[in-house]
Amino acid sequence: MTIKLPKSVLTGFRRVVAAAIFVLFSALPHAAVADDAEDFFEQHIRPLLLEKCIECHGPTKQENRIRLDRRDDVLQGRVGDTLLVNLATPNESRLLKVLHYAEDDIQMPPSGKLADEQLAYVQEWIMSGAVWPESSDLEGAAKRRAERWRDHWAFIPPAMPDLSAVAADENPLDHFVKAQLASKKLTLSPAASPRVFVRRLSSALLGLPPELTDLAEAEAAVANGTLKAWKTVYIDRLLASPHFGERWGRYWLDISRYADTKGYVFTEDREYPDAWRFREWVIKALNADMPYDEFLKRQLSADRMPGSDDPAQLAAMGYLTLGRRFLNNTHDIIDDRIDVVTRGMLGLTATCARCHDHKFDPIPTADYYALYGVFASSDEPKNEPSTLRLVDRPSPVEPVIFQRGSPGNPGVAVPRRFLTALSAPDAPAFSDGSGRLELATAIASRNNPLTGRVAVNRVWMHLFDRGLVASPSDFGVRTDPPKNPELLNYLTLSFMDNQWSLKSLIRQIVTSETWQQSSDRRVDAEAVDPENRLFARMNRTRLDFEGQRDAVLAVAGRLDPTIGGTSVDVTTDTDTGRRTIYARIDRQNFPSLFRTFDVASPDAHAAKRFQTTVPQQALFQLNSPFIMDRATEISQATKSAETSGDPTARIRLLFQAVLRRQPTLIEIEQSLAYVTQLQTEQQDSTGPVGWRYGYGTMDEANQTVTAFSEFPSMKDGIFQGGEKMPDEKLGWTSLNRRGGHPGGTLSLCAIRRWTADSDCRIFVNCVVVHPKEEGDGVRCRIVTPERGVMADATAHNSTESASVEAFDVKAGQNIDFVIDCRTHEAHDSFQSKIRITQFVGKKMQRTWKSDDDFRDSVGAGRLSAWAQLAQTLLLTNEFIFVD
């Protein structure tokens, strides 16, 4: 093994080596000539030992009984029979060998091989006699090093910064931001326009677009010169809105890895039937502005707090219990709970300590198992009305360390207690049951330097799109302090002083000049602060998935304002108006739609969401029934007597509905040209394609359908004559996803009409089920204008089928599936299932299915030009981004 030495090292060494030889051969204590050698040790060897070795081979730990912080331990140390430092044959030194990273030997340090230059230093140091000045013990330095985390900013309790320079009417928040900007000769940007402010606030606080009335009020306030007062009122009004909890609750659901299912389980039921109760608890707690310390405490130990007999309050513990089940492996379930508590509430990564002491943070394995003991002493009671809660075991578990994380390798016992780094040196172990309540109290404490800071940083992150601390769930020693530590300290202390009120904190931020400034580009600031970490302007933010979907529902007038309740599968129920926070989250089959839109994975605590821009997002927006149905609804809402002859007026209404503003003259011109071109084209083409739902008359003489009309109304998934059934005109005539009901005469047949989109060959099959003995059943006929009745089937308390094999249709040609009542209307509810398989050439192109394809909205055929314009506005960057 030869090591190429850097030139500087070599020249520096000649004298040292000479000195060393002198030392060795004269066997005299080193004298003045050794000064260089001492310098060499101090300069090159001592820092290396401290940096790379002492953590495991120093005063606190002596792995493999080797200690490298004291002179004698090094110079006389042995591994078996081998000397650590062999002055006679330096290359036989065990120390050198392990540093060389030989493949078949121990490799030290484990973090990675030393640089060649560093290796050269060690080799030359040993060759030159391993000079180690007696005065230079590393022990003290190593001890200081092991305690260095105590200096880490996040572990030091926040101190109130000097507020004496804050002007009386100045928000201290602005004072700290401006002071930093001033140090770079920058200033805040001008205030955003009132319009921008209104949208920004509504989307930040409620996750919804602003009401038109709010925008109008803001404009009026500008005219009256009362804008400032109006803003205060508006802020308070939104903070008091019950929709506030729906927006901010979703953030907490990311933190708590919320899901409605357990993840992979083999045979047992995979549902968490009560998961929604936890969500509801979160929403209500945030709406009620429950103090954040209590908010945390209840999630850990609601069973030991006031209201412990109330299932609604116990649901708070879903925070702990709604994780993955890991095939019911207890150790993994507890690990998941330790993770969601430490990262979610404290901003510390403790789960590394399951196998070894945390590499960087002051979290030894003993701390991990101290917490492990707390959760191992908490059981989920079986057969209870509330399935989310934990209770303390009658006799708590006395935890032991599992060495290298292996339960089969138990080590020493540890008491159940809080993290040592966050406890007083003489803090007692937990003694109250499992210790969960004591753990909750220690976390939700003013004396805890992390809890408040972590919360404030997250609120800041949601309001500014970027945290003051970049890693919101890791405040460990490797995390840089916030760019503006005084700001974070100030906000944290005032947050705790205000009874941990999240709403007060949010109010303080959104009333600031900093938050209300414009997001326009600042070329001057970019040069100094390209990432805008000093906040010389507001960040433009993209709506997250919840924000986008809820906004679409809101502008379509479809938003269901109900707060709380069970989950709904928004990926299959595309017509639901429920807000996205109520979307069912299936952990094991996490919908690709959610992945596509960066919704937090429910696998584990999510510190923050990724933000990607992928074409699958655009595909959803361009092609999904959800977006097109909403666009259709928006366009229909703008259709009126006034706009029928005035397309410009309708364009204005559309812009106002979707973008909440008037179009510019250019935009009117562009939109008009677009609509006109589309309408011309649609007139030239074949009209609607796919399924339509209506009623009409069966002309028995000519065997054709006459007077087909689409149903005018859709209610609860049923196409029908009007709001109520039976309808005055159409009676019980109706169609739904899986069937329907014919009317009482042959002029009120229930008709599904399918229109071919291209010239093709099709196979048609229609199954009709009439499930009752009463009445005389129903008749189904497959009819085309050209060929009349091609097949028919009559079902009465039976299942029947009508089919047409391979026949050619032209684009635009209709096929009607006509159901009539025969002679009696009574007991005529039927089910039907139609399959149309299309072939182009010999290739099966696709299949239409009456049930899968069913769209429960009126006018679900080809999108009208107006609906397409509405959709276009829904897709704009303006709709998706908030200035």
């Binding site: 095939l327 590499k359 943070d361 094991q588 089959n589 919704v599 510190a607 092609n623 394609v689 080809r862």
Partner: protein, 484 residues
């Protein structure tokens, strides 16, 4: 609705904005986003503001391999019946192993000889069983690892270990790591596609999860049971707006977006969203085409044969040909190769379903010059015992003609760019139970795959929850002998 979308340069948008589309061809972003393609690309691709995290990026060091096809024989194929002949097993069938059987999932009994014959193939003369006559034609391009081993004899942890390098905790899959590192060469298709006909394998979507990596790197699952493109890729078609209408719509959308952008200069998020709509529009025609094997000439379809395996393996080739980075092809829903009983009949049936298509894939890739740049991996999550499984109450229906799970030793093979062909690595004991010679743990396989693709597995890391993670965690050693 209409399967043939208008050609890009005749569509109304393109006519209006030829310049834009020129930039957005296959090399999308090559001008607008040139900054992304430098050495910092991997880093910046993770930033919140990154325009498109999927842009192609170089590996750590040069590699010929651009694509990976992982043929996953889920359930665990038996090594002694496929690629690991054991004369001693044949000779001593019915005897018990003197020092006892290794512990597996269920009780096992005497040595159970393979019902299949082995033959020598190729110049290398490597022996392969009669189950894989088509694959066997390619032994000279294959490196067969007969000394694989894993940790436990259970499906769930072994699947996760094979896919994600960790048996229990949520970690990114191999395909996610590679797409995170390399991006993809076709922005009109998903970078990482996981195909499995009929539903999910055991452990479901966790097999292609992105774990703590951004969600965009997860595998896109495609149920190849379907032949219908709309089922294969959600929202790929639109019944209610014609392509002609949609191109007009996109024209207006981008006009409005550009006016919006003009007042907000320098915001790359706005630009990247504008671009994503262009991509989506093109993907509608590209994806339809990529998954439609009827575009293949007859002789190619005949080469692959009939059935769903043939179809999905041929789709795999069409995908990598179009630049998709990682394609995982699962044999089927659940755990088809898990033959605890009737192994003779079942293994024969399963092999027959895929042998011709896998052989065809290797032939086809080679003919097209794609084998050089594609790594093909074959194997299950573990192998099976050379001893017979004993019947248990509630299982096996009293049959004594199957094999139990075996993580102690099993076979996998690789072929393609950079792989040492005609080579057998390692060996199991005389019966094929435990890997004994040149053992290759799953972590070692991962380390080797990483090396083949251009990564030092120890240096390919992602910072999460306070530490740097890697696919091989703290394990893994590159098996240099497998590399040509």
């Amino acid at each position: 609705m209409n399967p043939s979308m208008p050609e890009p340069d005749t569509s109304p948008i393109a006519i209006g904005r030829r310049g834009m589309l020129t930039r957005c061809g296959m090399g999308f972003g090559s001008m607008a986003l040139a900054g992304m393609l430098n050495a910092d690309a991997a880093e910046s691709a993770l930033g919140a503001e990154s325009p498109n995290p999927m842009l192609p990026k170089p590996a750590q060091f040069p590699s010929k391999i651009k694509h990976v096809i992982h043929l996953f024989m889920n359930g665990g194929p038996s090594q002694v019946d496929t690629f690991d002949p054991k004369p001693e097993l044949q000779r001593r069938g019915g005897q018990t192993i003197s020092d006892g059987n290794l512990t597996t999932e269920r009780p096992t009994g005497a040595l159970f000889p393979s019902p299949y014959r082995f033959h020598r193939y190729g110049q290398s003369g490597i022996e392969v069983s009669e189950l894989f006559p088509h694959v066997a034609q390619h032994v000279d391009d294959m490196a067969i690892i007969r000394s694989m081993h894993a940790d436990v004899p259970n499906h769930e942890p072994s699947l996760l270990l094979m896919n994600c390098g960790e048996a229990r905790l949520v970690r990114p899959s191999l395909g996610s790591w590679l797409t995170y590192g390399l991006g993809t060469e076709n922005q009109n298709l998903p970078a990482f596609v996981a195909m499995c006909p009929g539903g999910y394998p055991i452990q479901e979507s966790q097999n292609w999860q992105s774990g703590f990596l951004p969600g965009v790197y997860q595998g896109t699952y495609v149920d190849t049971k379907h032949t219908d493109i709309e089922k294969l890729i959600e929202n790929i078609r639109n019944d209610r707006i014609t392509p002609q209408d949609q191109s007009l719509q996109l024209g207006l959308l981008q006009t409005l977006n550009r006016q919006h952008l003009a007042e907000r200069p320098g915001d790359s998020q706005l630009e990247s969203r504008i671009h994503s709509f262009e991509l989506a529009f093109r993907m509608q025609s590209q994806a339809t085409d990529a998954f439609d094997i009827s575009h293949e000439p007859k002789h190619i379809r005949e080469l692959y044969g009939d059935g769903v395996q043939a179809r999905q393996i041929l789709i795999a080739r069409r995908l990598i040909e179009r630049g998709v980075r990682f394609v995982q092809v699962w044999h089927g829903e659940g755990q088809p190769w898990d033959n605890h009983d009737d192994i003779e009949v079942n293994h024969r049936r399963l092999a027959k379903q895929c042998d011709q298509a896998i052989g065809a894939l290797l032939t086809d890739l080679k003919q097209r010059g794609l084998l050089e740049e594609t790594l093909v991996i074959w194997g299950g999550e573990f192998g099976r015992t050379p001893v017979v499984e004993l019947p248990q109450k509630g299982a096996n229906a009293g049959k004594i003609n199957g094999r139990d799970h075996n993580h102690w030793g099993f076979t996998m093979w690789m072929a393609g760019g950079g792989v040492r062909g005609g080579y057998v690595h390692g060996a199991t004991d005389e019966f094929g139970f435990r890997a004994v010679e040149n053992k290759v743990h799953v972590h070692d396989l991962h380390a080797t795959i990483m090396k083949l693709v251009g990564y030092d597995h120890e240096k390919f890391t992602y910072r999460y929850a306070g530490r740097d993670f890697r696919l091989t965690d703290v394990h893994g050693k590159v098996v240099e002998e497998l590399i040509a």
